[in-house]
Every structure is written in structure tokens, then in C-alpha cells.
Symmetry: none
Subunit: 413 residues, 2 copies
């Protein structure tokens, strides 16, 4: 099945927004065995959308459009579609009722623009969007399929996962493709690849291994395609098991697992409660932990000790330690973690103090340096890391390593 | 001058890489008055590149290509170009000498693939790439210009800034385009649009207004194009001022400002220190505040009180309040904010408690409900919000509203 992605929006052409939607869609489609043959972005005019549609339809069986469905005047995708396909726009009563209910729940008034949002091309099958007001639309035209979705990422993702991908799978059935994804943390891509050279060479016809690195993590994806689905899955399981046994220490999960989710499972299994004491990560570590639904079962809270007074007054770090060793030091993170276990109702606490940058570095303590400690009150482990110069990336890099240190500590309990 | 951007690379179609190059190019071109009319991404095959070239040439005067110039087998842009234009490939001696020198400096051996990199379409003018081995190429074809650049971002950026943009400016003298972007928070797109209907209708020829919504925020972008640059900027300033005066209360900044940055400026101006006391946002509010470089000047820290014990033991919320009103209540957030001002060395504290979901909701307190309080110890303001059912989105929505409440509180001091 060949797919064209067609993105509508001046904001992408002028570079105000980076088109992350297409990358997300490309990944998802690739997993299902569909092939994206082109991604086309056009502006918010009738002519541009018509040109985009013509080109997209020439190359593919399915056109996935995003953008231009909002209630404002520059959102004209639906009108462009109805003109292109030569069908009328009709009022969709069920969508109107659904939007009306959403506004009731929000306690906000609806206006005329929202009513106009309920007009759709007559041949459109409505795909219910539980994440926003604009529904998705599935249209069959000239023997091909055109799907229109909002450009808001979480709305598009909801529609893709719950409506579009299942319908595409039903309509087009190619030779089965399947994947196994193995998730690692704390080791570089090239070091892993070195240890998998023989593995890659030994993969049978139709199978391949990809390395997908992302901030202190590498996802290893084995993809296979075979006519016989049972054999396909058997080989993938065997290959995944080889990787699992070689890299047990750095693997935290598979498929769509997350590092924070894996830690949650470990804490629940052990009946332990976690707290964080953060300086340089400024709450991002707690945020990652609490992004998991149900985190309140094992996460009690944090002290974000950005100022030294908070390190002293709330966590009990001694003034002498801060004076002698500084806020970014092994001694300080030990006192932060041990203080957090005392002050907060937790069994285990992790602390982190570092220099996220761009300012605040020195020769002995450069931007990108961080110290981490994990403690359960009896035993305290420390760890130091060196990242780069970019503040945002450093905060993320520190946080991934901190999550990994919690995992390592829990494994040894 | 109309521009098509043509990106070559399977890695973008399968979503392994997000195409940030096109956004960067769009921004730069827009500033020079050129107009990007389409962005097309195609795969690493002759046929795909030829289709992309045909479509790109149909719509624009200039095609800016990136990708497919590396020394590996799947990089075939140059061959596709020479076939499409019907010209031979010729060996470019100067490029070969330049690459040879680079390898000498690096102390690494050159191989046959690097020598093959020196073959170029015969009509190509070479654009020297000081950042890597693959040069850029400027080709005139069928009255139009085709430029080919490497896909590596810093190499492409070097060539754009030092070669391509100056040459484009020389060849095409377009009419200047400029923008004003006004940033709002806390009011919906359609409600703002309703109040700007007359404004939109009154915009002169060549000017337009766009609404760019994103989680509780709407960016308003006025774009104009006029031959006379001084008049263009004068009109844009006047129009931006009209919007500013109509929506003073919901505007937090302009251009690339951020809400957390705007709060930082307000705190520094007033010489005040801020703290947060978070439950449902789990540290994300503190993270947003500390994502600003230099936040330590005005942010002291947080208590993330996920468990009720932390609300009581660290922030001093009374057991009676939690029993009578529950953790998600106006009374609880008041005690959390007032407690945080006492416990942490801050002048102002914001607290938030809500139900991020997906679990934990009830009829009277559904998923998506949150209470916020801001206090300076003397005065405490409260605010409640209703979001949807998606955990990630709720955490972001709560956080934006919390940042906005800090802004509102500071404005009234």
C-alpha cells in the first residue's frame, strides 16, 4: 500500500512550526507495512491544496492529510476537498451534538464558527475525534482513499491509532511485516553495533536490524517480512532473545515500554515508595515519573531544591558541605538523597545536582556535569555524568541517567 | 520569488528523522522576502527524485534540494539530476583536491566512494562547502534554478547563509515580506477570532492574519508584503498595536517569547522569588519555569506533594481540610500555597491540585478538574479549570493555566 502524506499550513512553509506529524505518521505506517512514498506540504489556499491533492493522488493509493480543519477563516481544507472531489458540503448533525456536549462540559459558549465546523464533504465517513472538536474524515475518491485529520498532534495521533490505521489494515492486506523493538539505556549506538556485527550478518533474507538512538537511549528494531506469519513471529522472537541475552544489563523494556514505566513496575513489585530531590533537573525527573498513569501508587513527591537555602532548610544538607564541596558535588547529592528519605515518606530517594547551562560552569565544574545519588537510608550509591552544552538536552540527558540509576539500584535490592 | 523545497531521503519517509531542515530554510527564505510554496519529500530512488523535481519545478522559480549527496550507495541525487536535465556527469578536479586536503588534515584515508563524489552534472556551478566533503551545486535549467545541498543540517546552513541566499538575493529581487506574532493565553481561538472579524476585514491588500492555537494558547500572526519596506513595517506595527490594545489582558508576549520567560522577566523586575507546590502536575510546572536559562535568579524550588502525607508533613496542609474537602479542592490549594510561602524561601508560591487521569475521577470531581492558588502570604487568589480526559494533555493544560495565573497575580502587584 503506497501512501502520500499531505500537510496543509502556511506555518510550516514559513518555518514557524516543524512538521513532526509526518515523522510520527511515517513511523506508524512503516510498522504496519505501508510505504510512505512522498510527504507534501502546501499553503492555506484552494489552489495550493488542489495541486497537493493532484500530486499526492498520482503517486499513492491513500492520501493522509493533516491541518486546515480549525474553526477560523484560514482553515479551508474541507472546502478544498469538496471542490476537488466535486461533492457538496452537508451538515453533520451528530458531530454538532458531540461538539455541543463538549462545550457544555467545558462550561464555555459555542459560536457560529463551531457550527460551521460541522459541514463536511457529502462522501465523508466521519471519524470521531475524542480529543477535540474537528472530526476526521475518510473519503473514497477515484478508487483511492483520502483521509483528513486535524493538525494538532495529539488529535491526529488519536485518530490514526483508533480509526485510520485499523481501517487501512482492513482495506489493504500486504505480506505481513512485523517488528521487535528492544529498548536500551546508558550505552552508545556504535558500541552496541560493534557487538552485533555478527548478529546482523546472520539475519535471514527479509530481516533487518535498525538502530534508533535518542538521548542516552538506543532502540534496536528487528523488522521482518515473510509470507508465513507464524514463521515470521518465531524468527523475530528468537532474534530478540539473542539480543536480550547479550545486553541484559542495559535493556529496560520492549516495544512501547518506557523507562519511567519500567521503574514503576519494579517499585510496585517490591512494594517500595520513591521520592526525588532535584536541583538541575528542576522537576523534570518528577514529571517523567508522574507522566505514568497510576504513579501515585509508588511515587510520593519531591523537593525541588533549586536554591541552596532549600537544600539546607528542607533537605537538611549542611552548610559546611555546600561551602567545602559546592552544590554540584558527590557529598551534596549524598546529603540530598539521604535527607529526602528522612523528610519525605519514601523508601528510596534519588537526588541530582548539576550544571544545566548555558551559564554557571567553571574549569573544574563545567556545564554538563551532574552528580546523582540513590539512597534507601542504609545504602547510598553515587554516579557522575558529563553531558554537552545545550540546556534543554542536558536536562533530558541528566533525567534519563537518573531514571537509569533508580533502575540499577532497584535491580540490586 | 517562489521556492519549492525538495528533500531526498527514505529516513524522513519512515519517520526516523524529523525534517527540521525545511523549517530552518523556510524561516530564512521568508525573511528575505522569498515565498516557499511547497515542501516535498521523496525517497532515494531515481523515479521518486524525478517525480519530485517535476512537481517542484511546476510550482516554483527556484528548487532547493537537500539530501542524497553522501558517499554511500543510496545517495543518488546527482545522478538523478543529470538524467533529469539531460547533461553528463563530469569530474570536478578542484573539489577532488579540496576533499583530499580535508582527509590529510583529518589523518584518515580516502576511498573510491569519495573520488566518485567529485563527479557533478556538467552545468553545475560548485558552491564550496567548508563544513563537509559534499559541495553544493547551483544549476540553471529551463529558465529556473535548481540548488542541491547536503542534508546534514550544519552543512546545509553553511551553504545557505554563505552561498545560496546571497546568490538568490542577487538574481531575484522580491517584494519584502514581514510578520508580527502576538502571543495569547487562556482564551479560545474562535472567541478571539470573533472579536477580530472587523480587524481582518480591514486589513489592506497583501496583509493577512493567521491563528495558531496550541494548548490553552493562541498565536496571532499578521503577515504583510509590500514593495516599500518602511511602509510595510509601519503598517505591521500599527496593526499589531490594535491587537495589543484589544487583548492586553491575555497577551503575554511577542515573536519568540515564552510564557515562562515572560514570568521570569516580571519576577526579576519586581525583585520577587517564586516557589511551586504541585500535586497533579508532578513537577512539570517547575520544569517549565526552570527551562529558562537563569531561572535560579527568581525561582527557589518546589514541593511536589503527590502523596497526601507530603501535603501535610512538608506543606502543613491540615488533615481536617483533606478529610472534609479532599485533596482536589479550593481549601487544599489555599493551604498548599500559603504553606509553600512559609516553608520555602519565596515571596510568592503557586499551588495546584487536580485529577490528571485517566483514573481517580468521580461525579463531583471528574478527570480534568484542577484547583490553583497563588499566594504571597498576605493575599491568596484561587482559580479552577476543567480540561479533558488525556493525562499528558491535562498536565500541559494545567501547567499553562498555572503559569498564566502567576502572570495575572504579578500584574496586580
Amino acid at each position: 500500500m503506497k501512501i502520500s502524506i499531505l500537510t496543509v499550513g502556511d506555518e510550516i512553509l514559513i518555518g514557524q512550526i516543524v512538521d513532526t506529524n509526518s515523522a510520527w505518521m511515517g513511523q506508524q505506517l512503516n510498522l504496519t507495512g505501508a510505504r510512505v512514498v512522498t510527504i507534501i506540504t502546501v499553503g492555506d489556499t484552494m489552489e495550493a491544496i488542489h495541486t497537493g491533492l493532484r500530486e499526492a493522488l498520482e503517486q499513492a493509493d491513500v492520501i493522509l492529510m493533516t491541518g486546515g480543519l480549525g474553526p477560523t477563516k484560514d482553515d479551508i481544507t474541507k472546502k478544498a476537498l469538496s471542490e476537488y472531489m466535486g461533492v457538496d458540503m452537508v451538515f453533520h448533525e451528530l458531530t454538532f451534538q458531540r461538539i455541543t456536549k463538549m462545550f457544555e462540559v467545558w462550561g464555555r459558549p459555542m459560536n457560529e464558527a463551531h457550527r460551521l465546523q460541522c459541514y463536511m464533504p457529502a462522501n465523508a465517513e466521519i471519524l470521531t475525534n475524542k480529543m477535540g472538536t474537528a472530526p476526521g474524515m475518510w473519503m473514497e475518491y477515484a478508487g483511492k482513499v483520502i483521509v483528513s485529520m486535524p493538525g494538532v498532534p495529539y488529535e491526529m495521533q488519536y485518530l490514526m491509532e483508533n480509526e485510520v490505521l485499523p481501517k487501512l489494515r482492513q482495506k489493504f492486506q500486504g505480506q505481513p511485516i512485523a517488528h521487535r523493538t528492544i529498548l536500551t539505556v546508558g550505552e552508545g549506538e556504535s558500541h552496541i553495533a560493534e557487538k552485533l556485527e555478527d548478529f546482523e550478518e546472520g539475519l535471514p533474507e527479509g530481516f533487518k536490524l535498525a538502530y534508533l538512538p535518542h538521548i542516552a537511549q538506543v532502540r534496536l528494531r528487528i523488522t521482518g517480512s515473510l509470507a508465513d506469519e507464524a514463521t515470521l513471529h518465531r524468527i523475530l522472537d528468537e532474534k530478540a532473545e539473542i539480543i536480550r541475552s547479550r545486553f541484559a544489563d542495559i535493556i529496560y523494556g520492549f516495544g512501547t515500554d518506557t523507562l519511567e514505566g519500567a521503574i514503576g513496575v519494579m517499585l510496585k513489585e517490591r512494594g517500595l515508595k520513591l521520592a526525588t530531590a532535584e536541583s538541575c533537573t528542576g522537576g523534570y525527573l518528577a514529571h517523567r515519573i508522574t507522566s505514568v498513569a497510576g504513579a501515585s501508587d509508588y511515587f510520593v513527591g519531591s523537593v525541588i531544591a533549586y536554591a541552596n537555602e532549600v537544600k539546607m532548610q528542607v533537605l537538611g544538607v549542611s552548610a559546611a558541605t555546600l561551602d567545602t564541596h559546592g552544590a554540584v558535588s558527590e557529598q551534596t547529592v549524598i546529603e540530598m538523597a539521604e535527607g529526602a528519605v528522612k523528610v519525605l515518606p519514601a523508601d528510596i530517594a534519588i537526588s541530582i545536582s548539576g550544571i544545566a547551562g548555558p551559564g554557571g560552569g567553571s574549569d573544574t565544574k563545567p556545564v554538563g556535569l551532574a552528580w546523582i545519588a540513590v539512597s534507601n537510608g542504609q545504602k547510598t550509591r553515587t554516579f557522575s555524568i558529563r553531558a554537552g552544552k545545550d540546556r534543554d538536552k542536558n536536562i533530558q540527558y541528566f533525567t534519563i541517567h537518573a531514571l537509569n540509576q533508580i533502575r540499577q539500584f532497584l535491580k540490586q535490592l
